[in-house]
């Protein structure tokens, strides 16, 4: 666990920008751009639940920045925390990260608050002088709800290898200092916008569930292989696939099924171990084996009465 405290906290159009500073320099988080952390704060000596948020800042600093959409008891509480409040951090987690050796052209597809992990990727790749071409398709309802839009526009002007295409899904009057596309991101946009080698690009998708599913479907229908489409859910299964060839969900299903089966077998075995020796004839004083036939067993099983549904607990039949 890493101990941080709130250095600055700024709310901007329903997004909380939280900058946290490490309490001890030797306990700083080492993360890759695109990863997320889980945080809990301490209020009146009492710890809050943990919630997970994307890091938007670049690695190697003694502060980390989180981009948090406000909309719930926890995030509301976060906005009210004073500067200096202690924050416990678990992580970093996630495989939504760029592989600088494998990825040759990066297409980031962000829907709404899904921009946050992409901000860390963009900021760190560009600031490190990496010449990897980056294309960001950023979809939001209004341009006013596009977090970081001013910074992103400024980055397109500063770095030639970074291209931004905003998609605005609602009518509005505010103009952006960049060409926008009205409407949602469609399959045709991806075909037209991305470079001709789109099959070898690496695609990072982050946004609401339906958005992520739609984008993944578009990309797959264009013939882009699974390995080149990175989403949080994809990363979850792919990592496990490397370990055992099965996703963690499948492993859990198998374990649950095995538990049910083990329960049935062990209960059966236990019952037989209790029942059979009790009903075996004694060797010292030979008893007729015929006393243990099926019909006798029924009467030996206790006081089970099954008439008119007026029965007793099944435990009695194991005696």
């Amino acid at each position: 666990m890493h101990k941080y405290y709130i250095e600055t906290s700024k709310t901007e159009s329903e997004i909380l920008h939280l900058i946290l500073k490490a309490k001890h320099q030797d306990n700083m988080i080492s993360f890759a751009p695109g990863q997320y952390v889980c945080i809990s704060f301490v209020k009146n000596g009492r710890k809050s639940p943990y919630r997970c948020f994307s890091i938007t800042s670049i690695p190697g600093q003694n502060t980390i920045e989180l981009g948090i959409r406000i909309g719930g008891v926890f995030t509301d509480s976060l906005t009210k925390l004073p500067r200096g409040t202690e924050i416990d951090i678990l992580g970093p987690y996630g495989d939504y990260v760029v592989d600088k050796k494998l990825d040759e052209y990066i297409v980031l597809i962000a829907g709404g608050i899904g921009i946050t992990p992409n901000m860390s990727i963009i900021r760190s790749l560009l600031s490190s002088g990496n010449k990897l071409p980056i294309l960001l398709l950023y979809s939001a309802k209004y341009s006013s709800s596009m977090t970081y839009i001013d910074e992103l526009i400024a980055l397109t002007k500063k770095y030639s290898n970074f291209t931004l295409i905003p998609f605005i899904t609602s009518e509005e009057d505010k103009k952006l200092d960049i060409k926008i596309v009205n409407g949602m991101i469609e399959k045709s946009h991806i075909e037209r916008i991305v470079n001709k080698d789109y099959l070898t690009n690496t695609y990072f998708i982050c946004g609401p569930k339906l958005f992520t599913e739609n984008m993944t479907t578009y990309l797959e229908s264009l013939g882009i292989s699974e390995e080149r489409i990175i989403t949080e859910s994809f990363s979850e299964s792919s990592q496990i696939r490397n370990i055992s060839g099965k996703s963690i969900s499948k492993l859990t299903y198998m374990a649950s099924g095995a538990l049910v089966l083990a329960g049935i077998v062990s209960i059966g075995m236990l019952d037989l171990v209790r029942y059979v020796p009790k009903h075996l004839p004694k060797v010292a004083s030979p008893a007729p084996a015929s006393t243990t036939n099926s019909s006798n067993m029924q009467s030996n099983t206790g006081t089970v009465s099954n008439t008119n549904n007026n029965y007793q607990a099944p435990v009695s039949r194991s005696s």
Binding site: M1, C38, S40, K43, N44, R46, K47, S48, P49, Y50, C52, G72, S77, K80, D88, L90, G91, Y93, G94, P208, K209, S235, E236, I248, S249, K250, L251, T252, A255, S256, L259, V260, A262, G263, I264, S266, I267, G268, D271, Y275, V276, L280, P281, V283, P286, A289, T292, S294, M297, T301, V304, N306, N309, N310, Y311, Q312, A313, P314, V315, R317
Partner: protein, 208 residues
């Protein structure tokens, strides 16, 4: 010669016992598994809030496991319930399995003169419906109707209470001995975990 007779009798007894009790084994085995899966489900869910789970497993994987355990629980419940129809010792009709308080099950205890066994079975039936509801709302509402999903999810604590009463009151193996002690231990762990969870939730609901 004597041993041959014993072996033959033991085999006869075993075959006969399995033949008459196989449905009972399924009911009890699946019931045990369901109880344990419910315990794991509750602990893993509470672990997400307290951060304990995240110390061992990455959050996305932890959620995937939580979801998969829920499906495992539904499967175990279905096995537990379906095989009640095949058990001829305590025969339940389909309506008695699906509608609470239709059964006349008795475990020999009463509460204010009312047969307590009937309540014990009814708690199991109500819990089954609530588990199905919690799973279905988690599949459909977790993103779209978050508040409603959360309130339905809170009912899992009532489910846990009812399931423990159901299992300790109706479970053939839980009336005494090591199984009962084990179940009470699980219940105690769950109570402690729930208190820890409520303690944390209180911190964000306090007035500033």
């Amino acid at each position: 010669m004597v041993y041959n007779i014993l072996a033959s009798t033991a085999l006869q007894l075993t075959t006969s016992r399995i033949g008459s009790s196989w449905a009972w084994y399924f009911i009890r085995g699946a019931g045990f598994a369901a109880l344990f899966l419910m315990f794991l489900l509750m602990i893993s869910g509470i672990g997400h809030i307290t951060g304990l789970t995240y110390k061992f497993i990455e959050p996305i994987k932890a959620w995937a496991i939580h979801k998969a355990i829920a499906f495992g629980l539904v499967f175990a419940i279905l096995v537990h319930v379906i095989f009640l129809l095949f058990d001829h010792y305590v025969s339940f009709s389909l309506p008695q399995i699906l509608v609470p308080f239709l059964n006349k099950y008795t475990n020999g205890t009463s509460l204010f003169g009312v047969n307590f066994g009937m309540f014990v079975v009814a708690f199991g039936i109500i819990s089954m419906y609530l588990v199905f509801l919690i799973v279905l709302t988690s599949l459909g509402w977790i993103d779209t109707k978050k508040k409603l999903w959360k309130w339905v999810h809170y009912s899992s604590y009532f489910v846990a209470i009812m399931v423990f009463i159901h299992s300790l009151g109706a479970g053939s193996d839980l009336k005494y001995g090591i199984f009962r002690i084990f179940m009470i231990f699980l219940l105690a762990v769950l109570v402690v975990a729930t208190v820890m969870r409520l303690y944390r939730t209180g911190s964000i609901k306090e007035k500033n």
